[in-house]
Symmetry: C2
Subunit: 238 residues, 2 copies
């Protein structure tokens, strides 16, 4: 299993710039042998601006960046990619567009079979998992399925946030929403990645990185907290 | 057009009990000629407990309450209903179950053709509109469509909430999410109902009720605020 993934909760951390909080991890992840990243900007409407933002950041880290929306044939672009980065935005729009361009199975093949390193942030992290059933986003479009690329056999909730004890808002807390998901049959584990945290997956090994704890919601069991550096490889065996 | 709707943002307002904040409006809405309400508890997993909570409240207001989940034939129960109340919970689960039981078109017919009064709260308000594209809920299940009962030709965002200026959380604000919806083609108006507000629809007349302002997001125009008592009938003509 050649799988290599860097799954980031959020693109921008409060007080910092775009991908600033994970730039060391990005450099370590893509390393020196990857020269050019294929960027997927489908989660935002303005793809040109988004690609420009991503290109600026990756150039500063020493990588070239192509955006898949500029490719004549997106499937062909994925087939030739050395490394893939799917950025955040609206998860429904992102997944629908991946299906529209027939990229879901092709990205899966490149990452799981060919070992192409995959980085996701926010919505790009959601679509890397088994499904987008635990996205926070508004369903602004209707994808043909909520099944996603399936690079890991569990779900992630990015931007995981604890209840605000001072809030008078009566909408469900994030934890309540995830527990509602687990009321449905045969749900996978859900890893709540707080802003500032990320998951590094290398083959059958998963490690929590970043500056914040993650909260795991196993099906039918109490939630548990994990500190940065924790080995979460057990999530990969289900 | 016999349509009569009471579309409530939230079932429970901070500091109060279940439906306390709208009980005067409920009594006025169903009046004296409706004796028995048909309750739809599909948005929550534990339907028995939910029906019991709703029954207690409606009994205290002078109405009997049957829950559709106790009916041998849900379509038949809708055909015979004097008044309908769909409660809150998870909007995806609610809409999927309405489709599973073939209730979407039957409820639409009863309300629009037969003039059966319809009350919705939170998820029950979402499904009364043209679609659930502007729900806040997590997509814990996959309905066959996001098109909803279509009792009004616009969308509602219940539990509408303003940005918290002290937040360090970098997820999209509610306004940003609704504006992302309007980036898609041919979206309808979106009425953001803050907790405490509700919309009364009588035929071609729509009036904002409750204790808080509502925020309207027309397609391609700036958002505008409306105070309780405002005539929003123009939303019904699109």
């Amino acid at each position: 299993m050649k799988r290599r993934l860097l799954l980031v909760s959020n693109s921008t951390l409060y007080g910092g710039g775009y991908l600033d909080h994970c730039q060391q991890e990005i450099k370590q992840f893509f390393g020196d042998h990857v020269k050019k990243i294929l960027f997927v900007p489908y989660a935002l409407k303005d793809r040109d601006t988004y690609a420009s933002t991503a290109r600026k950041k990756f150039t500063s880290l020493g990588y070239e960046l192509d955006s898949v929306h500029e490719a004549a044939d997106p499937v062909e672009a994925v087939k030739r990619a050395e490394g893939i980065f799917i950025g955040g935005g609206n998860t429904f729009r992102l997944l629908k567009t991946l299906y529209d361009h027939k990229l879901v199975s092709e990205i899966q093949r490149r990452v799981l079979v060919d070992g192409v390193p995959y980085m996701g942030s926010s919505a790009g992290t959601n679509v890397s998992t088994i499904s987008i059933h635990t996205t926070n986003d508004m369903p602004i479009v209707y994808p043909p399925s909520l099944d996603a690329i399936g690079l890991v056999p569990f779900n992630i909730n990015p931007h995981y946030v604890d209840p605000d004890p001072n809030s008078r808002h009566m909408g469900e807390t994030r934890e309540q929403r995830i527990l509602q998901f687990h009321e449905e049959p045969d749900t996978p584990h859900v890893l709540g990645l707080r802003e500032g945290s990320m998951l590094l997956v290398e083959g059958h090994k998963a490690t929590l990185l970043g500056s914040t704890n993650a909260r795991l919601f196993p099906r039918g069991e109490a939630a548990t907290e994990f500190t940065p550096g924790s080995d979460l490889s057990f999530l990969l065996t289900d």
